[in-house]
Amino acid sequence: MKDASLLAAFEGPLKTNMGGCFPGERAVFRGHDLHAEFSHADWMDLYVFGITGRHHSAAQLKVLHAIWVNTSYPDPRLWNNRVAALAGSARSTGTLAMSAALAASEAAIYGRQIDIAIADFLVRAKVQAESGQSVQDIVGDELRVNRSIGGYGRPVAKSAPDERNATIFALAEEHGCGNGAYLNLAKEIEAVLLAGRWRMRMNYAAAAAALALDIGLSPREYYLYMLPAFLAGMSPCFVDAMQRPELATFPLRCATLVYEGVPRRSWTV
């Protein structure tokens, strides 16, 4: 039991080391003067510093940028992008459209739930591998507990290689980030999954997570870093819908609904 007096101790000025603004004067960002120290900073540098409290090298920031760039798909059929497109079709605001689409990206079959799960698995798997367990056993144990490993296999195009992986691996290699322990482990896991009855390839979620872990992000830091990853693909879906007549993006006629419920009945009976 926690006594309510604990809450009383948190009344009054909010104690923080994250920062705040002094209107008309300055702003503090994690112990630094925002305008004096960050005015020329790369936004990614500031964003990841805000999450982690750590600065990253130019090469690492290039890779972190590229992870976002290469998964920016302006395809309004994708379920999260479709939220942005439909909001545009119904003439909602761009911010509401994109906010809801980002929230929808916290999905179980793609996006943020997969991101955090695969990053967590890779961290646990590395510890197990370093203690002598074979990758084969690590994969087998994980599949016994969780039935699948997010980051391997895909809800669409299951058997094809992920089209983003070769590009991001080449870019990571170019910036000296292509040979980290997590990435090598992710590739070993793919080899096991491809050779076994699962026939699952590494998808972009595992590739990106491995690269970010090698850069030094923790799974929860990685999850927050990935939050805007799909954003650049969403805006075009919204803009496109706004350029069509109102309600003309994915219009559905009544006959689109296939009713499979109980027969008609009367409320009065």
Binding site: M1, A4, T16, S99, D120, P251, G261, T268
Partner: protein
Amino acid sequence: MSQTEKPDLIHTRIWSEEPEPDNPFAARTAYCHGYDVYGEILQQATYLEYLFLLFRGERPSSPMLRSLEILAIAIANPGPRDPSVHAAMAASVGGSPAAAALMAALAAGAGVSGGSREVYHAMELWTQCGCMLNAWQSAFAAPPANGKMQVWPEAEHPPGFAAYGGRCAQPVLQTLAALSANLGPGCTQWLADNRVRLETLADHPMAMPGVIAAALTDMGFTPTAGEMLSLMLRLPGAAAHALEQGERGYRRFPFFSLDIGNDPGPVQKAAEAA
């Protein structure tokens, strides 16, 4: 997609429509679980009867309807101190769109501490432990499951119980009494009879999400449906308070003060002083 491919269809057990004769995109009639929505339900049903029908596919019995009314009132407004209502008001005082205020309320009311995810976890516990005190004891003693890391933060108190305080708050007791008097034998009545023993095992007093979870379980809702329903039902209070504070404006809404532990101080002034 080519003209020859099968069109994309939405399969549903909830809803059917007949189009207007001159417009295939406008419904002339709409049926919800077989009932004519605008021809019959509109005239004859109450809102909560319709809500129950939407979720469960059947009309509620009288005790079920009354229980839903009690739940809806209990959840509707946790008051302006609650994080979800506070978030809605914070959105509103700045003049944000109405949807932003409600999205703020949903985000801050969705969590594992007092929010709908706590209702979900508490419903899982009710499903798992039911009315068996020893099952609850085992659940409290069990370490967290070693599964996939979730986007949800780890719970910091047992689901359904209060994070702080030494005894069950009066509104929780009043809600529990009203629901247990209305629902037949089940989780809620058992909770009313065994609350103190359960609180001793949990080392936390019972809280509103626990009572809501027990009632929703008795009413036959799944944890997923209970999570969704408890999110929806909390919006009226958030909306009303957001409207009120939006009218009052940001100048008359708390802004609080900060104590920044690592403030480097004014850079320019420091240089001038040197």
